[in-house]
Structure formats: structure tokens, C-alpha cells
Subunit: 356 residues, 2 copies
DNA sequence: CCTACAGTCGTAAACGTTTACGGGGTGCGT
DNA sequence: ACGCACCCCGTAAACGTTTACGACTGTAGG
């Protein structure tokens, strides 16, 4: 009843076909680039579709062909996630979209409500067939989502390793390299008492990170001192706590490596309270060059990565695991350790004089 | 061919009906809570659906009833947006989801690729009928998306005012109140030379913000000095630039009000370079208490808001504009100016001695 | 006994696509 | 003239739902 005399009320392919006086089959073939249609006809169809603003209804299309041309990126909208959110997902998103655009795939972000079980949410989303494939993140040590996706045979890729379900496609940050190179850099500047923060050794990262740290120390002839491994939460509070524990040590370290950039703010604050100035009295190396890390004074030495490139790799890895695109990405690794590059700040810009 | 002997390969409502030996119509009615179905039958259907893991195919459903039960939240994934992103969207998202969950609506975030025209992207998304309604943000002074959505009769709400298309539902931050209360607070501490930063007066905000500032000055008997209005970009660079300009003034201000928290980092840095310490030599009031703003030392006085509550209001405003839910939210304002609360930091924690 | 009615349920037609199939044409070779 | 291949196009059947409609019970009221 809204459609007055205007010809612009385009409801479906049927109206478009009638308007052109062609069958809907031909119209569909013309629009989808199928070969068996006269070029002249195709031109007319495309012109009319453009003029009338016709776009295929996605529900009908995906009902028919059983795919939606949509990739889902699951993120969490919990309180903690909100607090920790920086540009990580958006940065990765732009890389993902660049890959997906090549195949006319669209990316949708699925924010899991904080009061819903992530696994239930994911189950609902994939059962609804609103996405053809999924990307998940923040993978847990054992993550039921991985089992779910595997069993449902939904193509997926994860950012973050997990011990679940054998061999699935993932990409993860090079924490080992970070620990190793941070120690290397600090040792080169004369530091011998280098502390490190890490989550509990229960979680995979907590174990891996400290082991790399230990190996790096040995490589530079520095004895491993367990009391210099500070197990705290990877948060601002954790950073404050870590600083507090460091201050209690009788043989105070001259440097500290953080595993998460948020910790730096807490650590800076606690250190300042005791008159210890980062970058002068204590060398600090952080983790990621998140935009917010640049708020620190003195600027934080940390590790940089291209979120965009990470998104590219992640997207290609996912496509390599989708039947429809597999052959296009033949030599795409199933597991990738993503390297990071050290960016020099002021927080460790001093040397320890050798005392032999 | 994947379905071995397991009974868990549930493809559609038809299989479920056959398994129960009931017609698909009854099954559908039972699942959807329609009244004309025996309670005993309904129980059986629900049990079987749960057991077999049946969930209605969304494509078929939305094709039939012309709605998708999905609300879209359009965000931008441009380089600038990535840089500026903090927890804003995620914070609002959690509030939105809380509202939508009441009606079994799901929220999808639609990240517009940086190399695509936002309007074209939006057109594609709504034409595909993948969402029933939209929420847009970062509204421009004249925003073609608003005209597009209005003409297409897609329910929508915006965060941010605009001059486009008459009366549409929006919610915006109380910039006027921010300017007014910042000046009030500074004046109460004895400041008489209060600078302010603002975007170009071409954009709505640039005009509104400065006008409120001027009125607030008058209210406290402080003459308006045009040279204390610094027009710079709302970015870290802009903050640096603003500090630079302030330092060039012969009668240097004792306080400055920033319109964007990112500016604080640049301003701090430039000030430090000249030996001016924020919170001691210069009072600074920032804008939003974004998590990253808490990285600053000394801590920034700024304005706080509950993103969650903002999301709630935004969600209800949108529902009030959707025919299916309108009557449930009768007294829902069409336009809301969202208040902010001053949170006291150290960056303006000193008083100016009165010199009469 | 007839009618009315409420409670259940089955039937079938949509919703908008895509695509397998087949059928007119036309041109060519035999 | 006949067969054949080829190009183009129309027909119709799916895809998985929801829902208007009608049919079938049983019960109550007259």
C-alpha cells in the first residue's frame, strides 16, 4: 500500500523479470554471471537492476544454496573484555575484510553477551546458519567451542592456541620470541637481574613464556632465579601487584619484562609511588604497542605487530579450510606463530655499568 | 554421506516431524509457542528438538516471515577508527544486547571496510535483508546514510546528532554540559585564564562546544578571549599542537579543557618538553574516562558515563521505532542528550591563589 | 438428534532464490 | 532434407519455514 505510482518499489526478482519481460531464471543467471545468457540480455538486466535498485534477498538465496556468504567473528562483550578492549579486533578485522572481499564474502562480528555461555551462543549462531564459517578468539586452554565447531563441521580458525581437539587451524603470537628477545636486549645493556611477569603456569602461556625466558637467560650466562618470576594477573592491578612484589625483593632487579601492556600502567604507578622512575631506575619492556600504551610517560619499549597483516593471514587460513576456497590457498599453513618486532621506547633506554 | 548411523543428523523440521510422526505444521506451532497445540504434544516436540539438537534454519524462517530478528550495529574499520577505538562500541554493545535479549533479538556488528563507501556498504547490507533494523554511529554533519535509511523505511537509531533528514532518533553526548561544568570547576579553583580546544566551528560540535564555554565564562564573570579557543584536530597530534599554541601565548592560560581524551597524551608530552607539569603548572580537564585515559600520569580529570546505560537507552529508542515493538516502549524519547559525570583526577588538583 | 463450539491437528500455499532440465531456434555439415 | 551442435531462454522444482484454512474429534446445549 506504500507503493504509489513510483516504479522504485522493487520487491523481488519476479518484478524485475516482469519489468524486463524475461523469465526470472534468465534474470538470475544474468545477475550471477552464468555463461548461458546473451550478453545483450545481461546488459539490459544489469542496467535495470541498477536502475530499480534491486539486490537479491539474502534469505532466499542462502535458503536455496545452503550458504550465506558471511563469515562470523566471535568476540566477547563481557565486562573484562570491554575493559581490555583496544584496537585489536578492529585492526584484525580490516585485514580479514581485505581477504574476504576478494570472494565477495562479508564479515560479521558476533558479540557474545556477557551473561550467556559462549558455547551456547556459538551453538545458536551456527545452528541458525547465519554464517558459513567462524573465527574465534580468546581461546581457552580447553575450549568447548573448538569441539563444537569441529563436530558440527563448520570451518573455523582461531586466534590463540588451545589444547582442545587435535589439529585445528590457529594463529598465535610469538610469546617465546618476545621473552627471548626482551631478555637478549636487556642483557646486552648490562642487566643481570631481569624479572618477568607471567600468568599462572597452569595456563599454557604461563608455562611457555617462562620457559623461553629461562632459556634466554642461560644463553646469556645469567643464572635463573625463581623469585624473579612474578605470577600475577595480566591486568592493570596485576602490574601494580607485580611492582609491589618486586619492591619487596632484597636484591631488586634492574629490569622487568611484562606480558601485557595494561600491566605497565599499574607498574608505573606503584614504582612512582616509591620514587622509582621507569627508564631511569628500572628498565621496563612491555608487550604490545597498543595505542593506549603510547600514553605512558616515559614511552614504553614493547613489541609491535601489524594487526592488518595478522588479519590477512588469519583470513587466508580460514579460507584454506573451507571446501569452496581450499584450492585457492593451497600452501597456507595450518598453524602460524606470529612474529613481533621490537619497538624501542624510553622505558629501557639506559645501560647498566658493568661491575666485575 | 557423512550421516552414519547416528540419529543426530537433524536437517530440518521435516525430519523432526517424521521422527515424531506428527505433521510439520504442528511441530512448528509447538516450537513457536502457538496456542492451538496440545500441551502433551508440545512437550514431546520440545523434548525431541532438544534431544536431536534441532534449531530452526534462520534463512527459511526469515524468508517466510520477512524479518530476521537481527539488529545491525554499523561500525567503521578505517585506519582512523582503529586508532581511535577504545572500549566505546563494546561498552555500548553490552547494553544493547541486554535490551535486545528481552525480545530474542540478536546483535550483529557490521564493520564497514575502510576502502568502501559507508553508504554503499550500508545499502548492500540493508538490501540483503540480513538485519531488521540498524544502529549507526559516527554520524557526519550531513550523513547520507540517514537519508538512505529513512527512504528505505528501515528502522534505525544513531549515536550522534546530524543535520540530515529532519527528525530521526538519536542519542548524543552532553558536550554542552561538559564545557559548562569544566569551566565551572576551574573557575571555582580560581582559574581565570581557561583555554579550550574544539574542532572547527564548521562542524556542529565545534560550534556548540565553544558557545557553551562562552556562556559558562560569562556566568562566572570571566571575559571571553577568542585567542584561548584552540581549533585543532581531535587527536593525539591535535593535543600536541594545542599545547604548542598555548605555549606561544604571552598571557599563558592556567587551565585547558580538552574535547577528546586522546588529545591529553599529546598535550602532556608537549608540556613536559617545556617543563610544564600538568596538575601543577597547568590544570587539564579531559573528556571521557576511556580506559586508556587512565594511563596518564598524573591522572586525568575527565567526564565519565556508563556505556552500558547508554546502550540500554539506545536500544530502547530503536525498539520504540520498530513497528513490532513500538507499543512496548511508549514513553521513549526520540532524542536524548546523554549526561556525563565529572570524575576528579590529579590533573587539575590545585588552586590558583586569588590575586586581587 | 441436531447444532454449535472449542480443542487439535493436517494440508498446502506462500516467501525469493538458484539451477537442472528441456525446448525452441539457428547454423552447419552431410 | 536431415541430423547435430550450439546458443539462449523458459519451466518448474527445490531449499526450510510459517500460517491461513479447513477437517476431524468430542462435548455441551438445545
Amino acid at each position: 500500500m506504500r507503493t504509489k505510482g513510483k516504479p522504485s518499489s522493487m520487491r523481488g526478482i519476479r518484478q524485475l523479470a516482469e519489468h524486463l519481460d524475461i523469465s526470472i531464471g534468465t534474470v538470475s543467471r544474468a545477475l550471477n554471471g552464468k555463461p548461458d545468457v546473451n550478453e545483450e540480455t545481461r546488459r539490459r538486466v544489469l542496467a535495470a537492476a541498477e536502475e530499480l535498485g534491486y539486490v537479491a534477498n539474502q534469505s532466499g538465496r542462502s535458503l536455496r544454496q545452503g550458504e550465506t556468504k558471511v563469515i562470523g567473528l566471535m568476540i566477547e562483550s563481557s565486562q573484562e573484555a570491554v575493559e581490555n578492549a583496544d584496537n585489536f579486533f578492529l585492526g584484525v578485522t580490516s585485514g580479514l575484510q581485505h581477504v574476504f572481499a576478494r570472494h565477495k564474502l562479508d564479515l560479521l562480528m558476533l558479540p557474545c553477551p556477557s551473561d550467556e555461555d559462549p558455547c551456547e551462543y556459538l551453538k545458536r549462531m551456527v545452528a541458525r546458519r547465519v554464517v558459513d564459517a567462524m573465527i574465534i578468539s580468546n581461546t581457552q586452554r580447553i575450549d568447548r567451542r573448538i569441539d563444537l565447531l569441529s563436530r558440527a563441521r563448520i570451518p573455523f580458525a582461531a586466534v590463540g592456541r588451545s589444547l582442545s581437539a587435535g589439529n585445528f587451524p590457529w594463529i598465535d603470537l610469538d610469546f617465546e620470541g618476545v621473552a627471548e628477545r626482551a631478555v637478549e636486549r636487556l642483557a646486552a645493556r648490562g642487566h643481570r637481574r631481569i624479572a618477568i611477569t607471567a600468568p599462572s603456569s597452569e595456563v599454557n602461556l604461563g608455562y611457555v613464556f617462562v620457559e623461553s625466558y629461562r632459556r634466554a637467560l642461560e644463553k646469556h650466562g645469567i643464572p635463573f632465579n625463581p623469585s624473579l618470576v612474578i605470577r600475577v594477573k595480566s591486568s592493570e592491578q596485576g602490574g601494580y601487584q607485580a611492582a609491589h612484589e618486586l619492591l619487596l625483593l632484597e636484591d631488586r632487579p634492574t629490569a622487568v619484562v611484562l606480558i601485557y601492556e595494561l600491566m605497565a600502567i599499574g607498574l608505573y604507578r606503584r614504582m612512582m609511588e616509591s620514587g622509582i622512575v621507569p627508564g631511569r631506575d628500572l628498565a621496563v619492556i612491555g608487550f604490545r604497542d597498543a595505542p593506549r600504551a603510547r600514553f605512558l610517560q616515559p614511552s614504553l619499549s614493547c613489541f609491535r605487530m601489524s594487526l592488518y597483516d595478522l588479519g590477512i593471514a588469519l583470513g587466508e587460513m580460514l579460507l584454506a579450510n573451507m571446501p569452496a576456497y581450499r584450492e585457492l590457498y593451497p600452501d597456507c599453513g595450518r598453524n602460524i606463530i606470529w612474529p613481533l618486532e621490537l619497538v624501542q621506547g624510553e622505558s629501557d633506554a639506559f645501560e647498566i655499568e658493568a661491575m666485575v
